[in-house]
Amino acid sequence: MISEALVELSRWQFAVTALFHFLFVPLTIGLTWILFIMEAVYVMTGREIYRDMTKFWGKLFGINFAIGVATGLTMEFEFGTNWSYYSHYVGDVFGAPLAIEGLMAFFLESTFVGMFFLGWDRLSKRQHLMGTFLMALGTNFSALWILIANGWMQNPVGSEFNYMTMRMELVSFSEIIFNPVAQVKFIHTVAGGYVAGSMFVLSISSYYLLKGRDIAFAKRSFSVAAGFGLAAIFSVILLGDESGYEVGEVQRVKLAAIEAEYHTEPAPAAFTLIGIPDDEAMETHYAVKIPYALGLIATRSLDEKVIGLRDLQKAHEPRIRNGMIAYKYLVKLRNGEDTPENIAKFNETKQDLGYGLLLKRYTDNVVDATEAQIQMAVKDSTPPVAQVFWAFRMMVASGFIMLLLFCLAFYFNARRQIEQKRWLLKSILFALPLPWIAIETGWFVAEFGRQPWAISEILPTFLSTSSLEASDVLFSLIAFIVVYSILFVIEMYLMIKFARLGPSALHTGRYHFEQVPELTSGLRSQNS
């Protein structure tokens, strides 16, 4: 049996490396379009300040991009290094979108990012703008294919188990592309990236406005970010991916966990605003509820029920028992007893094979599982509630605060009063971490809420690991934490340095720190 320590450490390592990588991805996704907007204005109007804006925000973009590229390499390796059974079991399906991402998106993004930074003097204005556009397009395509891959983990359509090769195999690629879960996730995630990019520009511009520096530059940047960000935050919230929760059993389980809904309530269900979920008792204590809201949000109807975790677990029990039968025939087929009868029996039950595999945590043989082990597997079939419940609320709260801030920013900017609203500028400055809080907690809800599955209803997470020693993974996990911390310090050092310096970093001679040399020569001489 697979050691629990190995499973836990592998999960930690994936969580640490993926969440760290995703600190940088959304900013790249959002900033590329903002850079494109700024540069497009420059090309259309010929006004130099927009070129300076493109170059300056581009400099910050570059600092973020480099570490995003570096940490992205980990994700490409890690399925093979740490989740080798997963890689074998689903590579036939899951590998394809990753490879397509490389061919369709990474090449485009990475080739033109070089042109963006170093091609200013070697390309015509229009060529450079086109390069920026292709870079942004590549970045967004990249998100598309990653979310198609991730959407398939949540709702594995278009594929079938093959007992001969002992893996999932592709049946319909179009089903995988048009997986509704993947579609809503893509929109939600890229729009989240646009919010992060906008908040980044908005906050740092607010800083210049508060300091009274480079006002013209800051105000124009602020306007672009306020407009783009307002559109983006509306998309994130309105097209939130709760609409994807109608599809697939595991998504329904996730929804119940998000709402700490242990009992199935009569339709339309009430929305639990806050409360204290208790997995042991399967009750939510001290719940504060809003009548009807959950039913409306989740099912978009007044008469459909939202099923609670108790009933969901109850429904999983027969599937686990059925999965034991599937496993029994799978073993026979793998041992060469592939009579038509055995194949037929296996095919009858194979949709529950994944549930049978849940028992592998307790007994290698599966078919000899005791009643107590079956009950433990039933308990395992839904994720721990409290973490998902609270992470979701942090995400939503961050989202609504940002919605408010973007509305105010847009309104006062349109009325040309933004410089006077110092309280708003300060609030925006301090709200800078919000998109990252929302995005990281959002991913946590999506992935932790999918447990116990790596691939919903097909492959449990604990089975997906490589055959490594727990100590191997402990060692690499510590190495990741140490090295990533160092990289993060370096990145933040540069980011803060250049954000503080502002457009003077471009050495055009037009900006704040270049006007009063006696005050700022110390700062300036250190930078290029």
């Binding site: 093979g80 590579g91 036939d92 061919l103 990475s110 091609g119 893996r167 290029s528």
Partner: protein, 384 residues
């Protein structure tokens, strides 16, 4: 469109193509990074060297990423077995690869010599460790790797990190590093001038000779002292991917069987042995015309193609032989994805690769120039 057997063979070619693409493009950047401490004696020279690949390293690195992802999609068992089996070697590669993007992007952002020389060191490590590990890994593939599958196809690897290093695999590591260094030097000769170009040529011609010799010795070892693998049962080339149902034995010199059967194939290693000497010769010419420089680079690229192909052909149809359970060895016939996935991915690759090569060449053309010290000094704040 194609039957399963043909698709399997196409994918053997495509994986080879992607790895060769990686070696020629990203390998060039790695060679440049490896040469950096030896060809650049002052900061501005380092910047000249780095800016020859400044606009392209990121695009080039995608060959590596795509080759890895294609392995995942087309040969999932190889991806799963090799990456988890070579766990610490992969981690070592990964951690060194972190250094490259940061070194390229961050190095010239701060005007401090200490900051910059530290990043130069990082770039050197990030450029030399990966080719060394890949070379050692390839040597291990030729030797066979200790792994086997249980009845549910969970792979167990029984080797250790230190066991990866044998005289033979260290030699293949040298071949790999020398290949990158030679390639990087021909690139720098094309794209720089004055002292940097001269030093690159001096190092390049030595490395080219070393490469040819190391490659020759590795060849002798494969002939005399490394056991090759042989499938003795019949292979169902149209069959499903079931790598545990065949019979495999080992025998001395078996890796040369393909060459013995088709003597024309000897041309492939011959290129890898002879062309490095031509490259060395071209690099020795005192006043080089453009065509001399270009031929040196083409020669270097041909050498890379030939060396990678030599190993691939020697092992064919094996891609990852198992030394502990030879019957579980992975072949390009039985380690593959399903017919549907191979067909789909073939179409995707066939569609995108020409487009990728098209816009990549356009970018190279636009950025093509001799990078000089004067240019760097003029663009002090925008160049890398």
């Amino acid at each position: 469109m194609f039957d399963y057997e043909t698709l399997k063979f196409i994918w053997w070619c495509l994986i080879g193509f992607l790895f060769i693409g990686f070696a020629i493009t990203d390998g060039m950047d790695m060679g440049v990074g490896g040469l950096l401490p030896f060809v650049a004696k002052k900061d501005v020279e380092s910047r000249v060297v780095i800016n020859t690949v400044g606009a392209h390293w990121d695009g080039n690195q995608v060959w590596f990423i795509t080759a890895g992802a294609s392995l995942f999609a087309a040969w999932p068992l190889v991806y799963a077995t090799a990456f988890s089996g070579f766990y610490f070697a992969m981690m070592l590669t990964l951690f060194s690869l972190f250094l490259r993007p940061l070194a390229f992007d961050y190095r010239s952002k701060i005007d401090s010599l200490k900051w910059r020389t530290n990043w130069d060191k990082a770039l050197f490590v990030g450029s030399m460790v990966p080719p060394l590990v890949f070379g050692v890994a390839f040597g291990n593939l030729l030797q066979g790797v200790p792994f086997g599958f249980d009845s549910l196809m969970r792979v167990t690897y029984t080797g250790s990190f230190l066991a990866l290093f044998t005289p033979f695999t260290l030699l293949t590591g040298v071949v790999s590093v020398a290949m990158m260094l030679m390639h990087g030097s021909t690139w720098l000769v094309m794209r720089t001038d004055a002292d940097v170009a001269q030093r690159s040529a001096n190092i390049g011609r030595v490395v080219a000779v070393v490469l040819s010799l190391a490659f020759a010795i590795a060849g002798l070892m494969v002939w005399q002292s490394i056991d090759g693998y042989l499938v003795v049962s019949t292979i169902d080339t149209m069959g499903q991917a079931q790598p545990t149902i065949k019979e495999v034995t080992t025998s001395s010199g078996a890796w040369l069987n393909n060459y013995r059967e088709t003597p024309l194939l000897w041309l492939v290693p011959a290129v890898g042995l002879v062309v490095p000497f031509l490259v060395a010769l071209l690099l020795s010419i005192k006043s080089k015309s453009t065509s001399v420089k270009v031929f040196a680079f083409i020669g270097s690229s041909l050498t890379i193609i030939s060396i990678i192909l030599t190993a691939g052909i020697a092992m064919f149809p094996f891609v990852m032989p198992s030394s502990s359970v030879p019957n579980h060895s992975l072949l390009m016939w039985d380690t593959v994805s399903s017919e549907g996935t191979l067909g789909l991915m073939f179409m995707v690759v066939a569609f995108f690769i020409p487009i990728i090569i098209g816009y990549t060449l356009w970018c190279y053309k636009k950025m093509w120039r001799t990078v000089t010290i004067a240019e760097i000094e003029q663009n002090n704040h925008t160049a890398y």
